[in-house]
């Protein structure tokens, strides 16, 4: 199909946008809207069908065939677009909702104007498919004799399981939480990704033959010996969920929580599952400080507002990013610019270049933070150096402090220890060019092996690892 060569000149970018603030703050449903079909098609016409599509070649970790999907979408050829989409991507309904869209950051149109709304179009393709009933189970026609265990059901685990299952392997997914989805379910708030979307996909995978075993802590509930006896290959996809801690005086005060625990609690609550005390945290009627200016922090902000927080302040240690690309950050690299998420539009306030000196409180409960402004300057080896600004200290009152400062790597749980996989200096699992860990037959995928990153990278890595597993199994079978 051919594209509209003039679309990018004639049609302005129009993103799907969000439901009104007043409306969305009173429910947990997804805040982002979806454009009507005719507008999606118009937006797809903006695609220039580049000779070198940087979106596909540089931006998208899955290498989605974005220009071709756009060409099909603009002609309303949704079914063909779907086939093309599914040829590179297991779960467009996830990335279509939560991906920060590095494709759009490298869209050639971004050189001279606003990039194509690639993520919106991706979502339109897959939701159209679900709405039309095209997403029927497609179990493999022939089953292989091989069995694979996938440990973890986050984006990498689901992608690995899905890919391996389609090839024909018997796949069992083990998840220690009550429901599958990993960070998709327990990390990302409902208002960004409704859990029904995950349930829909998981049901599809079950119908296609993937077995899900939840609330199973492999290593505790199942021995590794059992695993090796039952499975021909094991794929570890446990993520990199060890949160970076705040190491300041007062950290021990109650009311200071890791963001992931906070988000998980809210997600479990919405699932109707019992919420263990560790996660049972509420911001209702509290003054909240979120430490960390990233996506997790912003998710905490939106969650806290919906829970009825009195106020929310998000602080970030780095300086405020520029509104547009700095010269050192040229296209097609990911634009390091200030981004305002839907949550930021909903309320709360943000401060940059702020560090935490200590927490204070009374009766063991936090009541505030002592903060200070910082300055950044180029240091040795290009690594920026931070310096506390003199006389910049200030206090912030808070009954709830959420730590969203990133992750340090995988949890070294019993499973990993028993398997004896090796770790690198960053704490992630070492694997070879074929994605296998130091233990034969044990593979690793996603954040566990890469460090914390985007959902889309986890999916891409899950796919790639599935391919490695398949080749390894095929070759091993031959050797047998």
């Amino acid at each position: 199909m051919t594209n509209n060569p003039m679309g990018f000149l004639d049609i302005p970018r129009k993103a799907a946008g969000y439901r009104s603030r007043d409306e969305r703050l009173h429910d947990w449903r997804e805040v982002e809207r979806q454009l009507p079909e005719d507008q999606v098609r118009r937006q797809a016409e903006r695609c220039m069908d580049c000779g070198i599509p940087f979106c596909h070649g540089c931006g998208c970790p899955l290498a989605n065939h974005i220009p071709e999907i756009h060409a099909l979408a603009q002609h309303g050829r949704w079914r063909e677009a779907l086939d093309l989409q599914l040829s590179t991507s297991n779960f467009p309904e996830f990335t279509g909702r939560v991906c920060p869209a590095p494709c759009e950051g490298s869209c050639v149109l971004g050189l001279v104007g606003d990039p194509v709304t690639i993520r919106n179009i991706e979502l339109a393709v897959i939701e159209r498919a679900f709405a039309e009933g095209w997403m029927k189970p497609r179990p493999p026609a022939a089953r292989l004799a091989t069995r694979v265990a996938v440990i973890g059901s986050g984006p990498a685990g689901l992608a690995a399981a899905d890919s391996l299952n389609r090839i024909g392997h018997h796949v069992t997914v083990y998840e220690n939480a009550p429901r599958p989805g990993g960070i998709l379910r327990y990390g990302i708030p409902e208002f960004k990704l409704e859990k029904a979307v995950i349930d829909r996909r998981v049901q599809l995978m079950r119908d296609e033959g993937v077995l899900f075993e939840c609330s199973v802590q492999v290593g505790d509930d199942l021995s590794t010996k059992f695993l090796f006896s039952r499975f021909d290959a094991i794929v570890l996809t446990g993520g990199a969920r060890e949160p970076r801690n705040l190491t300041v005086p007062g950290r021990e005060l109650s009311g200071i929580h890791f963001a992931m625990d906070y988000l998980r609690g809210q997600n479990m609550r919405l699932d109707g599952d019992p919420v263990p005390p560790r996660y049972d945290i509420s911001a209702a009627d509290k003054r909240v400080v979120v430490i960390g200016g990233g996506d997790t922090g912003s998710d905490c902000l939106g969650t806290a507002l919906r829970q009825g927080a009195k106020s929310v302040l998000q602080i970030e240690i780095l300086p405020e990013p520029p509104a547009t690309r700095a010269p050192s950050n040229p296209w097609p690299t990911w634009p390091l610019i200030r981004r305002d998420s839907s949550s930021h539009q909903e309320g709360g306030s943000r401060r940059w270049a702020v560090t935490t000196i200590h927490a204070f409180g009374c009766e063991g409960a936090v009541s505030g933070l002592r903060c200070a402004g910082v300055e950044w300057s180029p240091g040795d080896g290009g690594r920026p150096q931070m310096r506390i600004q003199p006389d910049s200290e200030f206090d912030v009152e808070a009954e709830l402090v959420l730590l969203a400062m990133g992750f340090t790597g995988p949890r070294k749980n019993k499973l990993l220890q028993e398997l004896g996989v090796s770790f690198d200096s960053r704490g992630t699992v070492i694997r070879d060019a074929e994605n296998m860990t130091s233990v034969p037959g044990v593979f690793a995928a996603g954040d566990l092996a890469r460090g914390a990153s985007l959902v889309v990278r986890a999916i891409a890595d899950g796919r790639a690892t599935a391919e490695s597993v398949h080749h390894w199994l095929a070759n091993t079978a031959m050797k047998r």
Binding site: M1, T2, P5, M6, F8, L9, M48, D49, C50, G51, I52, P53, F54, H56, G57, C58, A63, H65, P67, E68, A71, E80, D83, L84, L86, S87, T88, S106, V108, L109, L111, V112, P140, A141, A142, S163, R166, I167, G168, P330, P332, T333
Partner: protein, 1514 residues
Amino acid sequence: MPNDDQPAQRRPEAQGLYDPANEHDACGVGFLANINGQTSHQIITDAITVLCNLVHRGAVGGDAATGDGAGILTQIPDALFRAKTEVIADRLPPADTYGVGMFFMPQDPAARALCLSAVVEVVKDETLGFLGWRDVPTDSSVLGGQALATCPVVMQGFVDGCGLAGEALDRKLYAVRKQIQARVLPLLPPGQVFYAASFSCRTIVYKGMLTGGQVSGFYRDLSDTRYASAVAVVHQRYSTNTFPSWELAQPFRFLGHNGEINTLRGNLNQMQAREHALASDLFGADIHKILPVVDAGGSDSAALDNAVELLYRGGRSLQHAMMMLIPEAWGAKYPIGPDQRGFFEYHAGLMEPWDGPATVAFTDGRCVGAILDRNGLRPARYTVTRDGFIVLASETGVLDIAPENVAEKGALRPGQTLVVDLQKHRVMKNVEVKGLLARRHPYRRWVEENAITIQGLFGAVAPIIPDTATLLQRQRLFGYTREDLDVLLEPMASKGHEAVGSMGHDVPLAVFSEKPQTLYNYFKQLFAQVTNPPIDPIREQLVMSLMTFIGNPANILSEVPGHARLVKLQHPVLSNEDLRRIRNLNSGEFRTHTLQAGFPAGGAGAALQAALLQLAQRAESAVYQGENIVVLSDCGLASDETPIPMLLAVAAVHRHLINKGLRTRVGLLVESGEPREVMHVALLLGYGATAVNPYLAFETVAQMALDTRLGAITPAKAIENYIAALGEGLRKIMSKMGISTLRSYRSAQVFEALGISRDVVDVYFTGTASRVGGIGLDEIAAEANARWCAAREPRQDQMPILPSGGFYKLRKDGERHLWTTETITALQQAVRENDYARYQTYAALINDQTHRQFTLRGMFAFKAADPVPLEEVEPITSIMRRFVTGAMSFGSISREAHETIAIAMNRIGGRSNSGEGGEDPERYTILPNGDNRCSAIKQIASGRFGVTTEYLVNARELQIKIAQGAKPGEGGQLPGHKVNAEIARVRHATPGVTLISPPPHHDIYSIEDIKQLIYDLRNVNPGSEVSVKLVSELGVGTVAAGVAKAEADRVLISGYDGGTGASPLTSIKHAGAPWEIGLAETQQTLLLNHLRDKVRVQVDGQLKTGRDIVIGALLGAEEFGFATGALVCMGCVMMRKCHQNTCPVGVATQDPKLRACFTGRPEHLVNFCRFLAQDVRERLAALGLRSLDEAVGRSDLLETNEAVTFWKARGLDFSNVFYRPQTRTPPRCVNPRHIDLGDTLDARLLEQIGPAIEAGEKIVTHSPIRNVHRTVGTQVAGRIAQKYGHRGLPDDTVVMRFTGVAGQSFGAWAASGQTLILEGEANDYVGKGLSGGRIVVRPPAGADTSGDAHTIAGNVLLYGATCGEAYIAGRAGERFAIRNSGAVAVVEGVGDHGCEYMTGGRVVVLGRTGLNFAAGMSGGLAYVYDEDGLFDARCNLDMVDLEQVVSEADIAELRGLIERHAAATGSARAATMLAAWDETVPRFVKVFPMEYRKILGQMMREDEQTARQEVARD
């Protein structure tokens, strides 16, 4: 001057990349005759004069005295022989009963003795009497060194007919000569020559390695007054090589040929295939003695002579033979009668045309004549005198004839012939000759009663119902990709045209691709450059034909009605219906047999080989069983069979049947799912298929239509469109090679293999060049099996879609590219931040091809050497002076981009290239900051847009663009909507009017023509260098040698993969060869020819890094060009949308909004050049070299990278690329030529005129002029433009009067203020590039040669004229006012293709025009006097309307022009018209281009804003 440094050698054997088979020649030719058949010595004297006056059309070799060859063919000088053969004379029987053999004998006495006795023996064996030998008196003191060293002993042998006489004796002598050759040649020691220049009782040939002036000096017989003849054919040769070759001098035994046979390989193949079937009562049992028909080692012209000889000796008249071999075009547009059409169609089934530019002069001693090719691509001017004499030659004025003695002056027109019957004492013109021939037999009725027409019987194509259940699987089986559908098939099925793309080719060669490649991708199309012109397949489509026949008879010696029993196809693409009908013919004479072309799936090369052998044998036995149509089919193969690559199957069967002598007994059809691109069909036909049914492509486009992908187009219409696109594409591929008819394209093998092993090529593609070897049958089988696996055993997780392809646009799962997100990003950041380390990152990404190969040079490695310190290597600044940017026109890229490049290149002392499209004179002024926007290189391309005198004088280098890498052999066009006011001004065109660049330069149809154009350019700007841009292909080295001999200063070898311009995708992908091979071939050939030290060599084509440059230098280049890299530096991100005007970075667009997005700066390009130069320095240091000069030609420093282990690359062998000929000629340009124009007529006149120009004063000169005075007036024009710019001087300031016959290019680029008045006549190219001057050509006083019957000027007048006036009081030749954009001209008659591609100006034709008037005419107006009311039949109405001249303004304009013509020329015709004005006006037709009309309506609100639509780059 003999030069002991250059040991005389015969033509070298093939070595390295040099192959003597690639040589070309062309020249001047002519004949003289006494119409009454009276013999005289005067004919000989005159013939020598003609030769001398054609010397400038020939060439001399490296030693400046050795001619390329010249000679004369006359009747037997019986009186001379009786007087000069003392011993023999007494026994000499009467004339016509004895034969004379003219022999070149070996110098070596022993070898000579062997030859002498062989001759005598064979003569006696054939029951003739041998009378004796005569040593032909020669004077070798006139010879040049190389000619002398190889001079044979020339001897005449006399043979008694022993009762045979005349034709019967000659036929016997033919058999004798052939047997002598067969006997002697195998015994001849190497280096010795034996050759029978002639052996006849009627004609004799004196020729040799001579210049025209040396002929009579060498052969003393010719000065003997007893040497008398009624006829003489003369020839002066221009060869692309410099090697002495006495036997390739012309004339041959019957003819002299000026031009080139492009279809030679096909003609030879088909002739060979016919040999077994030849039979004739005239020969009887002797027929086997004349085989092979075509002598080995001859030239194309020699082969043509052999073919003529066969047909003539077989009983046809000479003119009949000529018309079989060089038929005129007889398509629907030609006004010829049914009898003639019948004649041509009958013979079309018998003999494919020997196609190419040709003026052939021929004689058998009893008649003499000449014929022109169907395109009229060579000139042939004749004069008939009142005293019964005729002279015809490539030029007029070669013999002085008093005006009052002239009875008629004329020119042969395309496809025309003229024959002088010396017996009947009359000149027979074209109509008479053909009329007589056409009625020898009832050919028309034979054809009507016998031909079986298959196509079009029932109108439209029957709809196809695709088998959707298996479609995807079958598409996978034949390697279809999504791109095949989206990019290739969809435009063909929806629009009927091939798609256009841009920005060249950066994917791996097929042999390096990890994706299974179809075998087609291992072949590259050859194309015409310099030695013959490509044809315009659109505007000159009328000369082309895709008609083809099944069932052609092999015995071309007989003439019976049954020869017309043929299946006739209008084109070679068979619909499913067509194929079904052919299969249903299965009764009577035509019986069809289908053979399945498969081999066991998973089988290796041996299995494939066995299957091929079996296939060929089954075809053979089918023929023996009387089947005469064999269909090779891969339809419905068993599931465990892999389709044999159809090209291989066809080639194998075709070759096998030829070897068995059976090929002509069977039509070979293809029913295959594999072919889908035009290239695929072209290859199948080129290797022997008769017609092709691409059933899966049909099904695919039908399915696309059913899927509503093609809008409202129905499946049947989609197939029709697809077939139409294939036809158009085939015409284009043929036209690139200058081939007009499919019948002569078939099995012509005009391809070279790239990446196929010689073993495979020799067996199946015999005769095809494969210069670096490559894959064998194992690899071919493996690729086919990979497709089988993808189709039959797909992974179940695969979506039901085809693979992406990724060939035209980057896809991560598709084909690999060199320009990627990483390389572009790295390069852009490097040049913007001036970051050499980043450049090195970029360069490493490009260079490291050890693990993933793209290019041939990726397989090269530098040999280990002792490095030198970096600081000893020449500095960056001197290296950068060798850098140039590629030709990109203003119009194809934005003004911003164009000027930025020029500024950058001027800053570093390199050179930027204007491209084809003129240059704004404002840029000739230096900017206040010292920057210079003037492009140092000014390009002269076929469209000649903006090529004014001022443009030419503002150049340091003038570059003739023969071809461009992206689409060699093709023209281009800039659609009107992209021609905004600024572009139009610079190109001297009208805003909004489409500008078409023709495929050929219309002043270069042959090698001697480029010599003329180079000479023209030197005259206009003596201070500039002249370069010629060629594209790498097989034989480019010999073309480069020819160009060097044409006295160019520089030759540029472009790779096929470069090219920023928009081109048909199949041309980008399939035409031309990598520069590595072309450059190495050029270096080797120039060295072997001792020419390398006289020219500079430049290379371009995807040069990206310092490594590329150093490899280029080691292979022989001194200078280096970049285009894509330069654009990337300035922001290009390889959108590949240049043709759509939507470039988002403002580089390749004229849209003001997008141009504003341009961010490139001169510094970016300067940084790139500095990085490259630094990279070069580092590599030179590592190689132990201190300068690029030291590196040039050091291919011994290269070796194959042994680390490459890619399975398909194993068979590659670069020894021929690295080969260095043993010669003492310096490997680089150390003796550049200094061309002295001081001795020209113009220079002498300039001495008088120069001061007047300086002072701006009026001056008038008078001089006699002759045809050897070429390009007269042009030095004067250059001087005017230098001083006064385009505006020039006031009218008639410099008036130059001439009397006589002007040589070529009279008044070229004449400038404003200059008036040239010629009393007499002119040759070709009058007023070329006219830039404001006035040219008058009128007959001499007293001569009655006015009006449209008398030719007064040659072909291609006013080519690319921008302004000025021309008044021609007589008829002009073909292509009058071609690509005129502003000049005003009045002429009294024109040949074919008048006003072709005209974009502006006015032309008035007071008499008849030829065919195809106004083809491609987009602007300007023409008024044509339509006396017979049939002008509309001769006009190409595609782009013009014909109107009456009714408006006052038009009438006034027309009258004004005719009045001026009358005043300037004294034309009687003009006076008559003006006298009866009221009766004259209604007979005029106004030729009004539709586009121009539209523009005139819009002129008031001329819009700078450019529409954004498809635009083709030129």
